[in-house]
Symmetry: C2
Subunit: 147 residues, 2 copies
């Protein structure tokens, strides 16, 4: 019924929603599979958070919506690989502050570069008009994603 009333108001909005959703999900999936990431998705997500700023274990667990023990495990794995470092909180002795190492920072940068490259190669075959459509669409999609 939601579908029916929408279709009545805006012809073919349902089709657009389906096609756009599928295109976004397929592109996202292929980037994940084909850009040769060297860390697992859940690890990369933590590295990106730490690229913004250093965070405690609890902060990371809440941000990533996993339990504290899971985050302890993930952080330990990243420490073993030399991608992040642990430090005592200056005032609160209970907290552990996790931050990126230089290796961690360059891993984030390299992964982003490879992903952007994947997309850039595919945009490279498009003509000027198509690129202009995508430029306008990207601004709209960014708002949709941020909402």
């Amino acid at each position: 019924m939601g579908q029916a009333s929408m279709t009545r108001r805006r012809p073919a909005l349902g089709t657009l929603a389906t096609d756009l959703r599928l295109a976004c999900m397929r592109i996202s999936r292929r980037i994940r599979l084909e850009s040769g990431d060297d860390v697992a998705p859940h690890q990369f997500s933590v590295l990106v958070r730490l690229d913004e700023r250093a965070r405690s274990i609890g902060d990371l667990a809440a941000t990533e919506r996993v339990s504290a023990p899971s985050m302890t495990r993930t952080v330990n794995g990243l420490v073993e690989r030399g991608l992040v470092a642990r430090a005592d909180h200056p005032e609160d002795g209970r907290q552990v502050i996790v931050s990126l190492t230089d290796l961690g920072r360059s891993t984030v940068k390299d992964t982003r570069r490879r992903r952007d490259q994947w997309m850039a190669v595919r945009l490279g075959v498009l003509d000027a008009d198509e690129l202009e459509v995508l430029r306008r669409a990207t601004a709209i999609l960014a708002r949709v994603a941020a909402e």
Copy 2:
């Protein structure tokens, strides 16, 4: 260097690649997290394959790029939940043919409907010009995703 030569040929193509990639990945991530899927991602992926046609365990394992024992496990879980059924291959007694049950088929349909609904709600706030841009962009993105 690839980046530099691209930028020389097509101003700001690198920025478009980055922004478009991020928008697609964020939308895809939010759909996955927020549309209330009732099966896990690897399970849903198998259901979608079986929605195309019935397949053997080996076929599914190759298509999903997991090992045969992993696919045996995944299929067993789906059988327990009543979403797929196993059957003997008519000629080759070694093979097991897996197909969707009615419940499995409606699960695929419902999951897709909820995902489309997520996107449709967000498209609902856009104006006619913005929707027209997204319509044109979707056709281009579908080609990019299929390439």
